[in-house]
């Protein structure tokens, strides 16, 4: 039995009720449905706002982070007044203001192999708005094991991808991406940046797909992947097929339960801390400031040239990470060297590249130039 709509709800959803594909019955279906949104960030913001506005009866939000002012360029569910607050709480307040008729359940915890099945099992649909590979594989596998549709979206700079992975009817995420790229090959949005409106465009498409699946209307993007580029304003679609060798949804699947996704991907999923190359390779900003007083150290900035306009260290040589392999001859392995970037992730990879090329006297500036700006030179901006 579908729940009835109150007089207030009929007025609130009247523009839906006027569409024959939704109508009163469709709106009651939405009221009866539930959606779990993994991540309350760039994608999670528009997804949650539009699903709440549309009258999904119960929305679950998983996130363990707090709102930072650098989020607000794109995470429109949060606001200046909620900087420092828990994201899930910030989002819940906004959603219930938008639509007090719905229920919002929040999970202020990392989404992990330990809690994911318990959290997701009572939802009709899962929306993947995470920012890292381990959680994406976890989200996929949970959806496959529970037999639920996983509305996938991912973004980077100007590019977006959307699909509906639903192993009962089509491919899953692993059918397309059986394994993640090696750590460091694909930069995150924190390193590479993202156009603020991009998650808006992509997240609203994701919300659209969720509504279609829940209403049972139209052609959900099962077996289709959208590739969007904001600069070209291009929408390309490709066909996805179920991979017969898929390890979670194929006929001979050998992964039957959740695994250690951080180990599988070789990267932490819940570590947004400063990039570290390991204690023996790291030098802190404070230590570096002391060292340069007495020693000559070559400073190598592996950021992109446009980032130097934001902040720079005097006398640093700029070799962007992407060019480092081709420009090794510019560096002298006999010289003591400190590598740095924005927050330490790229310089960690640069360090790996240099050490594998035989460099021994290299260190990584832990936390990057942002750490320098916090600890040593407070006149530098943090970004």
């Amino acid at each position: 039995m579908l729940p009835e709509l109150s007089r207030d709800e009929i007025l609130r959803y009247s523009r839906h009720l006027l569409i024959p594909e939704v109508g009163l019955e469709g709106q009651r279906k939405l009221k009866n449905s539930s959606a779990l949104i993994i991540g309350t960030g760039g994608l999670g913001s528009p997804v949650a706002l539009y699903l709440a506005a549309a009258g999904i009866g119960r929305i679950g939000l998983v996130d363990y982070d707090t709102v930072d002012s650098s989020n607000l360029q794109r995470q429109v569910i949060h606001g200046t007044s909620t900087v420092g607050k828990l994201k899930v709480e910030s989002a819940r307040v906004k959603l219930l203001d938008l639509n007090p008729n719905i229920q919002v359940d929040v999970y202020n915890e990392p989404y992990t192999s330990e809690n994911a099945l318990r959290i997701a099992k009572d939802y009709d649909i899962i929306l993947d708005g995470t920012d890292n590979f381990p959680t994406r594989y976890l989200t996929n596998d949970v959806a496959v094991f529970l037999g639920k549709p996983n509305v996938y979206a991912s973004i980077y700079r100007f590019d977006g991808q959307v699909s509906v992975f639903y192993a009962k009817e089509g491919p899953c995420y692993r059918c397309l991406f059986p394994e993640p790229p090696p750590p460091g090959l694909v930069p995150s949005c924190a390193e590479g940046g993202v156009l603020g409106v991009l998650p808006g465009t992509i997240g609203t498409i994701q919300a659209t797909e969720a509504l279609k699946v829940l209403l049972g209307i139209g052609e959900p993007m099962i077996g289709r992947l959208l590739l969007y580029n904001a600069l070209d304003m291009s929408f390309d679609f490709v066909k996805l097929k179920k991979n017969p060798n898929c390890r979670v949804c194929g006929p001979n699947a050998d992964i039957k339960e959740l695994i250690d996704y951080e180990e599988f991907c070789g990267v932490p999923s819940h570590d947004h801390e400063e990039g570290s190359a390991g204690a023996s390779w790291d030098i802190t900003a404070t230590e570096l400031a002391e060292r340069v007083k007495t020693n000559h150290l070559k400073l190598v900035d592996v950021r992109e040239p446009h980032e130097l306009e934001i902040s720079r260290l005097p006398d640093a040589t700029n070799i962007p990470l992407g060019q480092l392999a081709a420009r090794l001859s510019e560096l002298d392995s006999a010289e003591e060297m400190v590598l740095f970037c924005k927050s330490g992730a790229r310089s960690t990879r640069a360090l790996e590249l240099l050490t594998s090329a035989g460099f021994k006297k290299v260190k990584n500036l832990k936390g990057g130039i942002n750490a320098w700006a916090r600890e040593v030179d407070k006149s530098l901006p943090i970004y």
């Binding site: 991540g39 309350t40 960030g41 760039g42 994608l43 999670g44 996130d63 982070d65 930072d68 989020n71 794109r74 995470q75 993947d128 708005g129 995470t130 920012d131 890292n132 590979f133 994406r136 979206a153 991912s154 973004i155 980077y156 700079r157 100007f158 590019d159 991808q161 397309l176 991406f177 059986p178 394994e179 993640p180 790229p181 090959l185 694909v186 930069p187 995150s188 949005c189 924190a190 590479g192 993202v194 991009l198 998650p199 992947l225 590739l227 580029n229 600069l231 070209d232 390309d236 679609f237 490709v238 066909k239 097929k241 991979n243 947004h272 962007p320 992407g322 060019q323 392999a325 081709a326």
Partner: protein, 94 residues
């Protein structure tokens, strides 16, 4: 000649080019030509053994080469080859 669409994360290795015209009558030749033009791309597409990395998805038109003839999939003039990357971003990182 076929055109190969380069996704944003890999444009750092193609001098920012979003589309590269490649020579070749099949995917293998086209990728050979691509990595000759842009050698820095090679480790991102191929493993040490010279095989296409498992997370690299190539589509000719709408179809994954894995569903066609793999790297032997023929390509025609003017056909669009798309390189589809694994991206993980959700814009959630502080």
């Amino acid at each position: 000649m076929p055109a190969l669409r380069v996704p944003t994360p890999l444009r750092a290795y193609t001098n920012g080019q979003s589309e590269v015209t490649v020579n070749g009558s099949n995917i293998s030749d086209a990728l050979g030509d691509l990595t000759t033009q842009y050698p820095a791309l090679k480790p991102h597409l191929f493993n040490e053994g010279g095989e296409l990395r498992p997370f690299v998805n190539l589509f000719v038109g709408e179809n994954n080469i894995k569903d066609l003839q793999g790297v032997n999939t023929p390509i025609k003039d003017g056909e669009k080859i798309m390189l589809i990357p694994s991206i993980a971003g959700g814009g959630n990182v502080a």
